[in-house]
Point group: none
Chain length 192, copies 4
DNA sequence: CATGAATGAGAGTTCATTCAT
DNA sequence: GATGAATGAACTCTCATTCAT
């Protein structure tokens, strides 16, 4: 695939992401995408055979941006955790809508077939990262936690819950802040 | 609507629930329901005009079963909380699939229009119930918690996260147990 | 068919007429009629098998009222003609809509099959009646007309044209009056 | 829309006209049209969204042919009028059926919504044209008429009546001829 | 007789997908 | 490669008609 082709593919994915943001996964049709990116009907099929492939391309692009672990060398684990949670806060409150529901729809639909879902990997990696962070925090006596593994999972589940709730019944910035403070509190830390 | 009519309606909702369980909300067509309950095409429309109405009927029936608050008079708040979480565990691990994703799809689709979503009420009531429980637990010195309100919300978000994760990348019974233990732990309680 | 049956049938026809007035012939469904007369679905079928039969019943009832020839014994032909035209004026301007379009739809649909349309008879009789009237008027020297037969037809066609126009692009009372005056004028009469 | 597209659209309208001729307006379904032009179900929707749009396209095409005013420079008003009436005679007697009933159905159905019906314009223009013709005829002493305006309207109503009657109970060529002669007679002219 | 639930045929409409240009 | 017209499968919804009660 040439450079120009790649550019075009990227433009399609860009437009598609918008559409998935607005409408979730299942409600999106190839027609929607075609209209959103001003490409020809047949043209789209040259690059993507169906909305599944398109959504996977969107997810891939997404992960490249999102997965950047919080890295500030001179920060202590507590500060890094807080930075991560603040990043997640933005994700949760994104006005345009985040992809949560769409991802759930996608995963629900492809539950049976794919066993090694990238989402699973993403989940596991996030848990591992947080667990390490908490373990470090405990070791350096910034945090108090008997089970860093469970605490890490709990954070991820809470964030998932927040994301989904934000997309459905809504969540205020204040609520997210309180939850972040609560999470920090359970780890024995206080936000100044 | 006569008694028999009501019975039929119930039978339809029963069949519809199965279909929503299997396929979520958005992917379900009236045709699916028709086939699932062995009724005629037109017959279904006699009772429900579209999948939205059908899904709402399913939710209503669901709420009647689910909303039964945990009530054991001689149990202390900690025990009641544990009972509630065990109930939720069953919900999370339901083999047939629970309605979480379907509900999210439904809410996502109807986000703008309905302001007084029953789901919102359900959310608020659950939080209130848990908050009361925790406040009682603290007052009776069974629990330790500085902010019962945030703790209650945190539980709800965690459970939401678990439900959704269960329906997508999967969650083991052990994981749920650990999370329950963790939650109890953050409230200063230990499961024997 | 008992007396009660007949009453019911009449009530149905009454309701049906309203429906045909509002919607013409072709757009009317059995369901419309059922809803309009608050009878049961099956009940309607006991009396009428389809909208055609219903419409014919309406027409029959209509003809009984409408066909009453203008009869005022001590009036001269010119006065009788004017009375007839005034009667037709009411028909043309009926606010609720008259049956013209419905009748055309009905006749158009049943053009091929029925050869001895009651409408044809009605048309012929009306022409005959007017022709006689004009012939009398000429004989008694109230009117001037070389061809009473053509004049009679012309009146009927004009009235048909007015009825149809009234139901589509609309016709004012003034226009109808002018046309009546014009018709009388062509017969050498002047409306005082 | 390309040239080819336009050609296809025209072919559809052509086929649709046949269908409307045969069946009127209300009885026609998109399926009928699809079958009549050997196009695919979805293909038709590429060009027309419903029978209303289709019918309007037919009318438009029709008007382009029909509206050609009778123009013979060296003819006197009486001759021109006669030419016009002869043209109308053809329209009235068209064996395939003319569109009268269909137009009435269409107008009846869209009575309330559209205020500036093209049909109204057509009506007004025709009246104006005839009125001018008669006024000229009177001025040049070919005709005798006290109220050209009413005479013009009368002609239009009579022709409408004839068209409709032709489509329902039927009208013979002789009848149309007689009516034309009668109309000319009322204007003081005699057909040789 | 009367009811109205139930059926199924058929109309309207949308889209994924193909293919000639 | 790129286009967009064309196809047909699939879905929604409405009604005429029947039939058990």
């Amino acid at each position: 695939m040439g450079d120009k082709s790649l550019q075009k593919k990227n433009r399609i994915v860009e437009a598609a992401r918008e559409v998935f943001y607005q409408n979730g996964y299942r409600a999106v049709t190839m027609k929607d995408i075609v209209e959103a990116c001003g490409i020809s009907r047949g043209g789209l099929y040259l690059y993507f055979a169906n909305t599944k492939e398109l959504f996977e391309a969107v997810l891939e692009q997404e992960n490249q941006t999102v997965l950047k672990a919080p890295a500030a060398k001179d920060a202590n684990p507590g500060e890094i955790l807080l930075m991560y949670l603040d990043e997640q806060k933005k994700e949760i409150l994104k006005k345009k809508g985040n992809l949560s529901i769409a991802i759930y729809e996608y995963m629900f639909e492809n539950k049976l077939s794919d066993n090694d879902l990238p989402a699973k990997k993403h989940f596991v990696e996030t848990v591992k990262m947080l667990e390490q962070l908490i373990a470090d925090g405990v070791a350096q006596e910034w945090m108090v936690c008997e089970s860093p593994s469970e605490a890490a999972r709990n954070i991820v589940y809470t964030l998932e819950g927040l994301k989904v709730t934000a997309q459905t019944i809504g969540v205020s910035a204040k609520t997210v802040d309180s939850q972040i403070a609560y999470i920090m509190g359970t780890l024995g830390m206080v936000i100044k």
